[in-house]
Protein backbone atom coordinates (compact mmCIF):
# COMPACT_ATOMS: atom_id res chain seq x y z
CA UNK A 1 0.00 0.00 0.00
CA UNK A 2 1.68 3.20 -1.17
CA UNK A 3 0.31 6.42 0.23
CA UNK A 4 1.17 9.95 -0.82
CA UNK A 5 0.31 12.73 1.63
CA UNK A 6 -0.02 16.26 0.25
CA UNK A 7 1.44 18.67 2.78
CA UNK A 8 1.36 22.46 2.57
CA UNK A 9 3.41 24.94 4.50
CA UNK A 10 1.34 27.95 5.61
CA UNK A 11 1.82 31.09 7.73
CA UNK A 12 0.96 30.23 11.35
CA UNK A 13 -2.78 30.87 11.66
CA UNK A 14 -2.28 31.94 15.27
CA UNK A 15 -0.27 34.99 14.18
CA UNK A 16 -1.06 38.18 12.27
CA UNK A 17 -0.91 37.27 8.56
CA UNK A 18 -0.79 39.54 5.55
CA UNK A 19 -0.45 39.77 1.79
CA UNK A 20 2.80 40.95 0.25
CA UNK A 21 2.23 44.57 -0.75
CA UNK A 22 4.32 44.20 -3.93
CA UNK A 23 2.20 41.52 -5.63
CA UNK A 24 -0.74 40.70 -3.30
CA UNK A 25 0.38 37.09 -2.78
CA UNK A 26 0.45 35.51 0.69
CA UNK A 27 3.44 37.01 2.53
CA UNK A 28 5.40 33.82 3.22
CA UNK A 29 8.92 35.21 3.43
CA UNK A 30 8.16 37.38 6.47
CA UNK A 31 5.71 34.97 8.12
CA UNK A 32 6.17 32.38 10.83
CA UNK A 33 5.64 29.35 8.58
CA UNK A 34 4.37 26.03 9.86
CA UNK A 35 2.93 22.81 8.51
CA UNK A 36 -0.78 23.28 7.70
CA UNK A 37 -2.13 21.78 10.91
CA UNK A 38 -4.97 19.81 9.33
CA UNK A 39 -2.38 18.05 7.14
CA UNK A 40 -0.94 16.49 10.30
CA UNK A 41 -4.15 14.48 10.63
CA UNK A 42 -3.71 13.23 7.06
CA UNK A 43 -0.12 12.20 7.85
CA UNK A 44 -1.24 10.40 11.00
CA UNK A 45 -3.97 8.58 9.09
CA UNK A 46 -1.46 7.53 6.41
CA UNK A 47 0.89 6.19 9.07
CA UNK A 48 -1.93 4.23 10.69
CA UNK A 49 -2.94 2.66 7.37
CA UNK A 50 0.69 1.82 6.66
CA UNK A 51 1.15 0.28 10.10
CA UNK A 52 -1.89 -1.93 9.51
CA UNK A 53 -1.25 -2.83 5.88
CA UNK A 54 2.42 -2.24 5.17
CA UNK A 55 3.76 -0.06 2.35
CA UNK A 56 5.33 3.34 2.15
CA UNK A 57 4.27 6.89 3.00
CA UNK A 58 5.62 9.67 0.77
CA UNK A 59 5.15 13.37 1.46
CA UNK A 60 4.49 15.62 -1.55
CA UNK A 61 4.89 19.37 -1.13
CA UNK A 62 4.80 22.25 -3.59
CA UNK A 63 6.41 25.30 -2.08
CA UNK A 64 9.47 27.49 -1.71
CA UNK A 65 12.82 26.14 -0.49
CA UNK A 66 11.88 27.03 3.08
CA UNK A 67 9.01 24.51 2.95
CA UNK A 68 11.59 21.85 3.84
CA UNK A 69 10.79 22.65 7.49
CA UNK A 70 7.25 21.33 6.99
CA UNK A 71 8.59 18.33 5.09
CA UNK A 72 11.06 17.44 7.90
CA UNK A 73 8.24 17.68 10.43
CA UNK A 74 6.18 15.23 8.37
CA UNK A 75 9.17 12.88 8.06
CA UNK A 76 9.85 13.10 11.79
CA UNK A 77 6.29 11.89 12.45
CA UNK A 78 7.20 8.74 10.52
CA UNK A 79 6.74 9.26 6.78
CA UNK A 80 9.38 7.44 4.73
CA UNK A 81 10.40 9.91 2.06
CA UNK A 82 9.39 13.15 0.39
CA UNK A 83 9.11 14.86 -2.97
CA UNK A 84 9.46 18.63 -2.92
CA UNK A 85 8.45 20.54 -6.03
CA UNK A 86 10.29 23.84 -5.89
CA UNK A 87 10.63 26.37 -8.68
CA UNK A 88 10.64 30.17 -8.59
CA UNK A 89 8.12 30.23 -11.46
CA UNK A 90 5.46 28.68 -9.17
CA UNK A 91 5.21 31.82 -7.00
CA UNK A 92 1.69 33.27 -7.03
CA UNK A 93 0.01 30.23 -8.61
CA UNK A 94 -3.76 29.84 -8.11
CA UNK A 95 -5.44 26.61 -6.94
CA UNK A 96 -6.06 25.53 -10.55
CA UNK A 97 -2.38 25.90 -11.46
CA UNK A 98 -1.18 24.27 -8.23
CA UNK A 99 -3.46 21.30 -8.87
CA UNK A 100 -1.76 20.89 -12.26
CA UNK A 101 1.65 20.80 -10.62
CA UNK A 102 0.53 18.30 -7.96
CA UNK A 103 -1.15 16.14 -10.62
CA UNK A 104 2.01 16.08 -12.74
CA UNK A 105 4.09 15.10 -9.70
CA UNK A 106 1.60 12.37 -8.72
CA UNK A 107 1.69 10.97 -12.23
CA UNK A 108 5.38 10.27 -11.71
CA UNK A 109 4.68 8.44 -8.45
CA UNK A 110 3.26 5.07 -7.54
CA UNK A 111 0.27 5.39 -5.19
CA UNK A 112 -2.85 3.58 -4.02
CA UNK A 113 -4.08 6.39 -1.84
CA UNK A 114 -3.52 10.15 -1.77
CA UNK A 115 -4.30 11.85 1.55
CA UNK A 116 -4.42 15.52 2.48
CA UNK A 117 -6.00 17.88 5.01
CA UNK A 118 -9.57 19.01 4.28
CA UNK A 119 -8.53 22.66 4.02
CA UNK A 120 -5.49 24.89 4.36
CA UNK A 121 -5.59 27.62 6.97
CA UNK A 122 -4.21 30.27 4.59
CA UNK A 123 -6.25 30.07 1.38
CA UNK A 124 -9.15 28.04 2.84
CA UNK A 125 -10.28 27.11 -0.65
CA UNK A 126 -10.74 23.42 0.30
CA UNK A 127 -11.01 22.01 -3.22
CA UNK A 128 -7.71 20.24 -3.90
CA UNK A 129 -9.19 16.70 -3.71
CA UNK A 130 -11.90 17.71 -6.21
CA UNK A 131 -9.36 19.29 -8.57
CA UNK A 132 -6.98 16.31 -8.42
CA UNK A 133 -9.87 13.88 -8.85
CA UNK A 134 -10.86 15.80 -11.96
CA UNK A 135 -7.31 15.92 -13.35
CA UNK A 136 -6.22 12.37 -12.51
CA UNK A 137 -9.54 10.60 -13.04
CA UNK A 138 -9.39 9.06 -9.58
CA UNK A 139 -12.31 9.14 -7.11
CA UNK A 140 -12.62 11.93 -4.55
CA UNK A 141 -13.61 11.12 -0.95
CA UNK A 142 -13.32 14.44 0.84
CA UNK A 143 -14.00 15.66 4.37
CA UNK A 144 -13.34 12.34 6.13
CA UNK A 145 -13.93 11.80 9.85
CA UNK A 146 -13.19 8.09 9.38
CA UNK A 147 -11.30 6.04 6.80
CA UNK A 148 -11.23 2.28 6.23
CA UNK A 149 -9.38 0.31 3.58
CA UNK A 150 -10.93 -3.02 2.60
CA UNK A 151 -9.07 -4.84 -0.14
CA UNK A 152 -9.04 -2.47 -3.11
CA UNK A 153 -11.91 -0.36 -1.75
CA UNK A 154 -11.64 2.76 0.38
CA UNK A 155 -14.54 3.70 2.66
CA UNK A 156 -14.94 7.11 4.21
CA UNK A 157 -17.36 8.84 6.53
CA UNK A 158 -17.73 12.32 5.04
CA UNK A 159 -18.59 14.74 7.82
CA UNK A 160 -21.85 16.65 7.25
CA UNK A 161 -24.04 18.91 9.39
CA UNK A 162 -25.15 16.75 12.28
CA UNK A 163 -24.02 13.46 10.75
CA UNK A 164 -22.07 11.92 7.89
CA UNK A 165 -22.30 10.39 4.44
CA UNK A 166 -20.86 6.92 3.97
CA UNK A 167 -18.73 6.97 0.81
CA UNK A 168 -17.13 4.13 -1.07
CA UNK A 169 -14.77 4.00 -4.06
CA UNK A 170 -12.16 1.83 -5.71
CA UNK A 171 -8.48 2.72 -5.23
CA UNK A 172 -6.40 4.56 -6.28
CA UNK A 173 -8.34 7.43 -4.70
CA UNK A 174 -7.83 10.78 -3.02
CA UNK A 175 -9.12 11.36 0.51
CA UNK A 176 -9.09 14.54 2.61
CA UNK A 177 -9.32 14.39 6.38
CA UNK A 178 -10.80 16.61 9.09
CA UNK A 179 -9.22 17.00 12.52
CA UNK A 180 -11.86 14.64 13.94
CA UNK A 181 -10.29 11.58 12.31
CA UNK A 182 -7.46 10.87 14.77
CA UNK A 183 -4.99 12.42 17.18
CA UNK A 184 -1.68 13.11 15.39
CA UNK A 185 1.41 11.74 17.12
CA UNK A 186 4.19 14.00 18.30
CA UNK A 187 7.52 13.35 16.60
CA UNK A 188 9.79 11.39 18.93
CA UNK A 189 13.45 12.34 19.40
CA UNK A 190 14.33 9.23 17.45
CA UNK A 191 11.91 10.27 14.73
CA UNK A 192 13.42 13.74 14.51
CA UNK A 193 16.94 12.29 14.17
CA UNK A 194 15.81 9.71 11.61
CA UNK A 195 14.05 12.39 9.55
CA UNK A 196 17.36 14.09 8.85
CA UNK A 197 18.51 11.06 6.90
CA UNK A 198 15.31 10.35 4.99
CA UNK A 199 15.39 11.04 1.24
CA UNK A 200 13.87 14.30 0.00
CA UNK A 201 13.79 14.49 -3.76
CA UNK A 202 13.45 17.98 -5.22
CA UNK A 203 11.80 18.44 -8.58
CA UNK A 204 11.59 21.48 -10.83
CA UNK A 205 8.80 22.30 -13.27
CA UNK A 206 11.08 21.01 -16.05
CA UNK A 207 11.33 17.66 -14.22
CA UNK A 208 7.53 17.51 -14.31
CA UNK A 209 7.30 18.56 -17.95
CA UNK A 210 5.47 21.79 -17.11
CA UNK A 211 6.04 24.98 -19.08
CA UNK A 212 6.89 27.66 -16.46
CA UNK A 213 4.84 30.21 -18.44
CA UNK A 214 1.64 28.26 -17.64
CA UNK A 215 1.97 28.68 -13.86
CA UNK A 216 2.57 31.55 -11.46
CA UNK A 217 1.05 34.93 -10.84
CA UNK A 218 1.09 36.23 -14.44
CA UNK A 219 -1.12 33.44 -15.79
CA UNK A 220 -3.19 32.66 -12.66
CA UNK A 221 -6.92 32.19 -13.37
CA UNK A 222 -7.86 34.91 -10.90
CA UNK A 223 -6.20 38.10 -9.74
CA UNK A 224 -6.34 40.29 -6.66
CA UNK A 225 -7.39 43.83 -7.57
CA UNK A 226 -6.82 45.47 -4.19
CA UNK A 227 -6.48 44.74 -0.48
CA UNK A 228 -7.64 46.80 2.46
CA UNK A 229 -7.52 46.24 6.21
CA UNK A 230 -10.90 45.64 7.75
CA UNK A 231 -12.13 48.82 9.43
CA UNK A 232 -11.57 48.52 13.18
CA UNK A 233 -14.65 47.82 15.25
CA UNK A 234 -15.94 50.67 17.37
CA UNK A 235 -15.37 50.41 21.10
CA UNK A 236 -17.94 48.08 22.66
CA UNK A 237 -19.62 48.27 26.05
CA UNK A 238 -18.28 46.04 28.82
CA UNK A 239 -20.16 45.59 32.08
CA UNK A 240 -19.26 43.56 35.15
CA UNK A 241 -22.04 41.34 36.45
CA UNK A 242 -23.28 42.38 39.84
CA UNK A 243 -26.46 40.39 39.65
CA UNK A 244 -27.73 42.64 36.86
CA UNK A 245 -25.55 41.32 34.01
CA UNK A 246 -28.31 39.32 32.38
CA UNK A 247 -30.70 42.24 32.57
CA UNK A 248 -28.18 44.57 30.96
CA UNK A 249 -27.42 41.98 28.27
CA UNK A 250 -31.08 41.52 27.40
CA UNK A 251 -31.51 45.30 27.55
CA UNK A 252 -28.76 45.68 24.93
CA UNK A 253 -30.35 43.04 22.69
CA UNK A 254 -33.71 44.81 22.99
CA UNK A 255 -32.13 48.17 22.18
CA UNK A 256 -30.58 46.64 19.04
CA UNK A 257 -33.98 45.09 18.22
CA UNK A 258 -32.42 41.63 18.38
CA UNK A 259 -35.06 40.29 20.78
Amino acid sequence: MNIVVLVKQVPDSGTQRSLDASDNTVARATADNVINEIDEYAIEEALQVKEAQGGEVTILTVGPASATDAIRKALSMGADRAVHVVDDAIHGSCAIQTSGILAAALQQMDYDLVLTGATSTDGQVAVMPALLSERLGIPQLSGAQKLTVEGSTVKVERQTDGGFWALEAPMPAIVSTWDTINEPRYPSFKGIMAAKKKPVETKSLADLGIDPATVGLATATSAVVDVTGRPPKGEGVKVTDEGDGAQKLVGFLAEQKLV
Partner: protein, 320 residues
Protein backbone atom coordinates in the same frame (compact mmCIF):
# COMPACT_ATOMS: atom_id res chain seq x y z
CA UNK B 1 -29.25 40.35 -21.27
CA UNK B 2 -26.47 38.11 -20.08
CA UNK B 3 -27.49 34.86 -18.42
CA UNK B 4 -26.12 33.84 -15.01
CA UNK B 5 -26.38 30.27 -13.75
CA UNK B 6 -27.08 29.58 -10.06
CA UNK B 7 -26.74 26.04 -8.73
CA UNK B 8 -29.62 25.25 -6.37
CA UNK B 9 -28.97 23.56 -3.03
CA UNK B 10 -31.88 21.86 -1.31
CA UNK B 11 -32.57 21.23 2.37
CA UNK B 12 -31.94 17.53 2.92
CA UNK B 13 -34.82 17.37 5.41
CA UNK B 14 -37.71 18.77 3.36
CA UNK B 15 -36.45 19.36 -0.17
CA UNK B 16 -37.01 23.12 -0.05
CA UNK B 17 -34.49 25.63 -1.41
CA UNK B 18 -31.78 26.45 1.11
CA UNK B 19 -31.31 30.00 2.27
CA UNK B 20 -27.80 30.07 0.75
CA UNK B 21 -29.36 29.51 -2.67
CA UNK B 22 -31.80 32.39 -2.20
CA UNK B 23 -28.78 34.53 -1.34
CA UNK B 24 -26.98 33.32 -4.47
CA UNK B 25 -30.05 34.08 -6.60
CA UNK B 26 -30.09 37.58 -5.13
CA UNK B 27 -26.33 38.22 -5.57
CA UNK B 28 -26.32 36.84 -9.12
CA UNK B 29 -28.79 39.49 -10.31
CA UNK B 30 -25.94 42.02 -10.33
CA UNK B 31 -24.41 40.11 -13.24
CA UNK B 32 -27.43 39.43 -15.47
CA UNK B 33 -30.63 37.47 -15.86
CA UNK B 34 -30.70 34.58 -13.42
CA UNK B 35 -31.25 30.94 -14.39
CA UNK B 36 -31.50 28.37 -11.61
CA UNK B 37 -30.04 24.90 -12.11
CA UNK B 38 -31.71 22.08 -10.20
CA UNK B 39 -29.74 18.83 -10.31
CA UNK B 40 -31.01 15.88 -8.30
CA UNK B 41 -33.19 12.80 -8.20
CA UNK B 42 -36.40 12.44 -10.26
CA UNK B 43 -39.15 14.88 -9.26
CA UNK B 44 -36.93 17.09 -7.16
CA UNK B 45 -37.54 20.27 -9.17
CA UNK B 46 -41.34 20.25 -9.00
CA UNK B 47 -41.39 21.25 -5.35
CA UNK B 48 -39.06 24.23 -5.66
CA UNK B 49 -40.12 25.99 -8.87
CA UNK B 50 -42.38 28.44 -7.05
CA UNK B 51 -39.66 29.42 -4.60
CA UNK B 52 -37.16 29.90 -7.44
CA UNK B 53 -39.70 32.04 -9.34
CA UNK B 54 -40.20 34.22 -6.28
CA UNK B 55 -36.47 34.84 -5.98
CA UNK B 56 -35.83 35.85 -9.57
CA UNK B 57 -35.15 32.76 -11.67
CA UNK B 58 -36.21 33.57 -15.23
CA UNK B 59 -35.41 30.00 -16.20
CA UNK B 60 -35.05 26.75 -14.27
CA UNK B 61 -32.83 24.10 -15.83
CA UNK B 62 -34.02 20.75 -14.55
CA UNK B 63 -31.49 17.91 -14.57
CA UNK B 64 -33.07 14.90 -12.91
CA UNK B 65 -31.58 11.44 -12.61
CA UNK B 66 -31.26 8.97 -9.72
CA UNK B 67 -27.52 8.86 -10.43
CA UNK B 68 -26.98 12.50 -9.49
CA UNK B 69 -27.46 11.83 -5.78
CA UNK B 70 -25.90 8.35 -5.86
CA UNK B 71 -22.43 9.73 -6.53
CA UNK B 72 -20.45 12.47 -4.81
CA UNK B 73 -20.12 15.99 -6.29
CA UNK B 74 -18.88 15.01 -9.78
CA UNK B 75 -22.35 14.51 -11.39
CA UNK B 76 -23.45 18.05 -10.53
CA UNK B 77 -20.22 19.47 -11.96
CA UNK B 78 -20.83 17.57 -15.21
CA UNK B 79 -24.40 18.84 -15.50
CA UNK B 80 -23.24 22.42 -14.94
CA UNK B 81 -20.34 22.08 -17.39
CA UNK B 82 -22.73 20.85 -20.06
CA UNK B 83 -24.97 23.88 -19.45
CA UNK B 84 -22.04 26.31 -19.49
CA UNK B 85 -21.08 24.92 -22.90
CA UNK B 86 -24.67 25.20 -24.15
CA UNK B 87 -25.67 28.65 -22.94
CA UNK B 88 -22.29 30.44 -22.47
CA UNK B 89 -23.39 32.26 -19.29
CA UNK B 90 -21.75 35.46 -18.06
CA UNK B 91 -20.99 33.73 -14.75
CA UNK B 92 -21.91 30.86 -12.44
CA UNK B 93 -22.81 31.45 -8.77
CA UNK B 94 -22.88 28.57 -6.28
CA UNK B 95 -23.59 28.57 -2.51
CA UNK B 96 -20.34 28.14 -0.57
CA UNK B 97 -20.99 24.77 1.07
CA UNK B 98 -18.30 22.04 1.00
CA UNK B 99 -20.10 20.48 -1.96
CA UNK B 100 -20.59 23.87 -3.63
CA UNK B 101 -16.87 24.65 -3.55
CA UNK B 102 -15.99 21.24 -4.92
CA UNK B 103 -18.50 21.59 -7.75
CA UNK B 104 -17.01 25.03 -8.48
CA UNK B 105 -13.46 23.67 -8.66
CA UNK B 106 -14.38 20.81 -10.96
CA UNK B 107 -16.48 23.10 -13.15
CA UNK B 108 -13.55 25.50 -13.44
CA UNK B 109 -11.27 22.74 -14.73
CA UNK B 110 -13.91 21.35 -17.09
CA UNK B 111 -14.60 24.76 -18.63
CA UNK B 112 -11.10 26.24 -18.54
CA UNK B 113 -12.19 28.92 -16.08
CA UNK B 114 -11.07 30.52 -12.87
CA UNK B 115 -13.08 30.46 -9.65
CA UNK B 116 -13.30 32.42 -6.42
CA UNK B 117 -14.54 30.80 -3.21
CA UNK B 118 -16.32 32.31 -0.22
CA UNK B 119 -17.06 35.66 -1.82
CA UNK B 120 -19.25 38.02 0.21
CA UNK B 121 -20.30 40.34 -2.62
CA UNK B 122 -20.23 40.41 -6.41
CA UNK B 123 -20.15 43.77 -8.23
CA UNK B 124 -21.85 44.26 -11.63
CA UNK B 125 -18.41 44.25 -13.33
CA UNK B 126 -17.67 40.81 -11.86
CA UNK B 127 -15.27 41.97 -9.14
CA UNK B 128 -15.81 39.92 -5.99
CA UNK B 129 -15.12 40.69 -2.34
CA UNK B 130 -13.45 38.17 -0.03
CA UNK B 131 -12.61 38.47 3.66
CA UNK B 132 -9.31 36.72 4.40
CA UNK B 133 -6.95 35.84 7.26
CA UNK B 134 -9.48 35.51 10.06
CA UNK B 135 -11.36 38.58 8.90
CA UNK B 136 -8.30 40.83 9.10
CA UNK B 137 -8.29 41.91 5.47
CA UNK B 138 -10.73 42.57 2.65
CA UNK B 139 -9.68 41.59 -0.86
CA UNK B 140 -11.24 42.45 -4.19
CA UNK B 141 -10.53 39.83 -6.84
CA UNK B 142 -11.43 39.04 -10.42
CA UNK B 143 -11.51 35.85 -12.42
CA UNK B 144 -9.23 36.42 -15.41
CA UNK B 145 -9.81 33.19 -17.36
CA UNK B 146 -12.95 31.72 -18.92
CA UNK B 147 -16.39 31.95 -17.32
CA UNK B 148 -16.17 33.45 -13.82
CA UNK B 149 -17.33 30.98 -11.15
CA UNK B 150 -18.11 32.18 -7.64
CA UNK B 151 -19.08 30.47 -4.42
CA UNK B 152 -21.02 32.82 -2.15
CA UNK B 153 -20.44 32.75 1.61
CA UNK B 154 -23.63 32.19 3.61
CA UNK B 155 -25.32 35.18 5.28
CA UNK B 156 -23.34 37.72 3.21
CA UNK B 157 -26.36 38.85 1.19
CA UNK B 158 -29.98 39.31 2.28
CA UNK B 159 -32.33 37.28 0.07
CA UNK B 160 -34.73 39.61 -1.73
CA UNK B 161 -37.74 38.43 -3.73
CA UNK B 162 -37.90 39.52 -7.39
CA UNK B 163 -40.67 37.54 -9.09
CA UNK B 164 -39.74 35.99 -12.43
CA UNK B 165 -41.14 33.41 -14.85
CA UNK B 166 -39.11 30.33 -13.78
CA UNK B 167 -39.65 28.76 -17.18
CA UNK B 168 -38.70 25.09 -16.94
CA UNK B 169 -36.07 23.78 -19.34
CA UNK B 170 -35.36 20.04 -19.13
CA UNK B 171 -31.70 18.99 -19.30
CA UNK B 172 -30.63 15.60 -20.60
CA UNK B 173 -28.42 13.89 -17.99
CA UNK B 174 -25.73 11.65 -19.38
CA UNK B 175 -22.99 11.05 -16.83
CA UNK B 176 -19.51 9.83 -17.72
CA UNK B 177 -18.04 6.81 -15.95
CA UNK B 178 -15.58 9.15 -14.27
CA UNK B 179 -18.44 10.96 -12.53
CA UNK B 180 -19.66 7.69 -11.08
CA UNK B 181 -16.64 6.64 -9.02
CA UNK B 182 -17.44 7.72 -5.48
CA UNK B 183 -20.69 6.14 -4.37
CA UNK B 184 -22.77 7.70 -1.59
CA UNK B 185 -23.81 4.52 0.21
CA UNK B 186 -25.67 6.09 3.09
CA UNK B 187 -26.62 9.48 4.52
CA UNK B 188 -26.56 9.26 8.30
CA UNK B 189 -28.19 11.88 10.54
CA UNK B 190 -26.84 11.58 14.08
CA UNK B 191 -28.25 14.74 15.60
CA UNK B 192 -31.78 15.69 14.68
CA UNK B 193 -32.49 19.23 15.63
CA UNK B 194 -35.08 21.86 14.93
CA UNK B 195 -32.50 24.60 15.22
CA UNK B 196 -31.41 26.52 12.13
CA UNK B 197 -28.28 25.41 10.30
CA UNK B 198 -25.16 27.07 11.71
CA UNK B 199 -24.00 28.90 8.57
CA UNK B 200 -27.55 29.99 7.70
CA UNK B 201 -28.72 31.13 11.13
CA UNK B 202 -29.28 34.82 11.79
CA UNK B 203 -28.40 34.28 15.47
CA UNK B 204 -25.69 31.93 16.76
CA UNK B 205 -24.98 31.13 20.42
CA UNK B 206 -21.62 29.42 20.95
CA UNK B 207 -20.07 27.84 24.01
CA UNK B 208 -16.41 27.41 24.81
CA UNK B 209 -14.11 25.83 27.33
CA UNK B 210 -15.79 27.83 30.12
CA UNK B 211 -18.98 25.80 29.68
CA UNK B 212 -16.93 23.03 31.31
CA UNK B 213 -18.90 19.92 30.32
CA UNK B 214 -21.11 18.35 27.68
CA UNK B 215 -24.07 18.40 30.11
CA UNK B 216 -23.63 22.11 30.69
CA UNK B 217 -24.11 22.76 26.97
CA UNK B 218 -27.83 22.52 27.82
CA UNK B 219 -27.42 26.10 29.10
CA UNK B 220 -26.13 27.20 25.69
CA UNK B 221 -28.90 25.29 23.90
CA UNK B 222 -31.57 26.85 26.12
CA UNK B 223 -30.36 30.38 25.35
CA UNK B 224 -30.17 29.49 21.65
CA UNK B 225 -33.71 28.14 21.68
CA UNK B 226 -35.06 31.23 23.41
CA UNK B 227 -33.65 33.26 20.49
CA UNK B 228 -34.41 30.80 17.68
CA UNK B 229 -30.64 30.54 17.22
CA UNK B 230 -28.18 27.91 16.06
CA UNK B 231 -25.69 26.44 18.54
CA UNK B 232 -21.95 26.62 17.91
CA UNK B 233 -18.86 25.59 19.84
CA UNK B 234 -15.25 26.69 20.04
CA UNK B 235 -12.45 24.29 19.18
CA UNK B 236 -11.54 23.98 22.86
CA UNK B 237 -15.10 22.85 23.63
CA UNK B 238 -15.11 20.39 20.72
CA UNK B 239 -11.67 19.00 21.56
CA UNK B 240 -12.83 18.50 25.16
CA UNK B 241 -15.77 16.46 23.85
CA UNK B 242 -18.46 18.92 24.97
CA UNK B 243 -20.07 19.25 21.52
CA UNK B 244 -19.73 17.58 18.10
CA UNK B 245 -17.17 18.86 15.57
CA UNK B 246 -19.79 19.72 12.95
CA UNK B 247 -20.83 22.63 15.19
CA UNK B 248 -17.30 24.01 15.54
CA UNK B 249 -16.94 27.67 14.63
CA UNK B 250 -13.46 28.77 13.66
CA UNK B 251 -10.44 28.26 11.45
CA UNK B 252 -10.82 24.48 11.31
CA UNK B 253 -14.60 24.50 11.46
CA UNK B 254 -17.42 26.66 10.12
CA UNK B 255 -17.32 30.33 9.24
CA UNK B 256 -20.46 32.13 10.33
CA UNK B 257 -21.62 35.68 9.77
CA UNK B 258 -24.94 36.07 11.61
CA UNK B 259 -26.78 39.25 12.67
CA UNK B 260 -26.01 38.34 16.28
CA UNK B 261 -23.25 36.13 17.67
CA UNK B 262 -23.19 35.36 21.38
CA UNK B 263 -19.90 33.89 22.63
CA UNK B 264 -20.22 32.22 26.02
CA UNK B 265 -17.15 31.08 27.95
CA UNK B 266 -14.99 31.60 24.85
CA UNK B 267 -11.69 33.41 25.29
CA UNK B 268 -11.46 34.45 21.64
CA UNK B 269 -8.28 32.91 20.25
CA UNK B 270 -7.54 33.71 16.58
CA UNK B 271 -8.62 30.12 15.80
CA UNK B 272 -12.15 31.02 16.92
CA UNK B 273 -12.23 34.62 15.72
CA UNK B 274 -11.48 33.41 12.20
CA UNK B 275 -14.92 31.83 12.11
CA UNK B 276 -17.09 34.60 13.54
CA UNK B 277 -15.33 37.93 13.25
CA UNK B 278 -17.61 39.23 10.49
CA UNK B 279 -20.78 38.76 12.58
CA UNK B 280 -22.79 42.00 12.60
CA UNK B 281 -23.26 42.25 16.38
CA UNK B 282 -21.11 40.34 18.85
CA UNK B 283 -21.98 39.73 22.51
CA UNK B 284 -19.60 37.99 24.92
CA UNK B 285 -19.99 36.51 28.39
CA UNK B 286 -16.76 35.54 30.10
CA UNK B 287 -15.47 35.56 33.65
CA UNK B 288 -12.03 36.78 32.54
CA UNK B 289 -12.19 40.54 31.99
CA UNK B 290 -8.98 40.34 29.94
CA UNK B 291 -10.27 37.72 27.47
CA UNK B 292 -9.52 38.84 23.87
CA UNK B 293 -13.13 38.15 22.87
CA UNK B 294 -14.05 41.43 24.58
CA UNK B 295 -11.97 43.34 21.99
CA UNK B 296 -14.48 42.20 19.38
CA UNK B 297 -17.63 42.44 21.45
CA UNK B 298 -20.19 45.18 20.95
CA UNK B 299 -21.50 44.22 24.37
CA UNK B 300 -19.61 42.21 26.96
CA UNK B 301 -20.55 40.87 30.35
CA UNK B 302 -17.71 40.03 32.72
CA UNK B 303 -19.26 37.42 34.95
CA UNK B 304 -20.09 33.82 35.70
CA UNK B 305 -21.83 32.32 32.67
CA UNK B 306 -23.72 29.88 34.93
CA UNK B 307 -25.41 32.90 36.55
CA UNK B 308 -25.73 35.25 33.59
CA UNK B 309 -26.83 32.91 30.81
CA UNK B 310 -29.76 31.11 32.51
CA UNK B 311 -31.03 34.45 33.83
CA UNK B 312 -30.80 35.99 30.34
CA UNK B 313 -32.63 32.99 28.86
CA UNK B 314 -35.42 33.43 31.38
CA UNK B 315 -35.76 37.14 30.68
CA UNK B 316 -35.81 36.62 26.91
CA UNK B 317 -38.49 33.96 27.29
CA UNK B 318 -40.49 36.32 29.52
CA UNK B 319 -40.48 39.03 26.84
CA UNK B 320 -42.39 36.83 24.41
Amino acid sequence: MAEVLVLVELNPADGTVRKGTLEALTAARALGEVSAVVAGGPGVAAGVREQLAEYGAARVYVAESPEIDEFLVAPKAEVLAQLVQQVSPAAVVIPSSPEGREVAGRLALKTGSGFLTDVTEIAPDGTATQVIFAGAQIVHSRVTTGTPIYTLRGNSVTPEPAPAAAEEVPVQVQLSEQAKQTRVVDKVVEMKSNRPELTEASIVVSGGRGVASAENFAIIEALADSLGAAVGASRAAVDSGFYPHSFQVGQTGKTVSPQLYIAVGISGAIQHRAGMQTSKTIVAVNKDAEAPIFELADFGVVGDLFQVVPAATEQIAARK
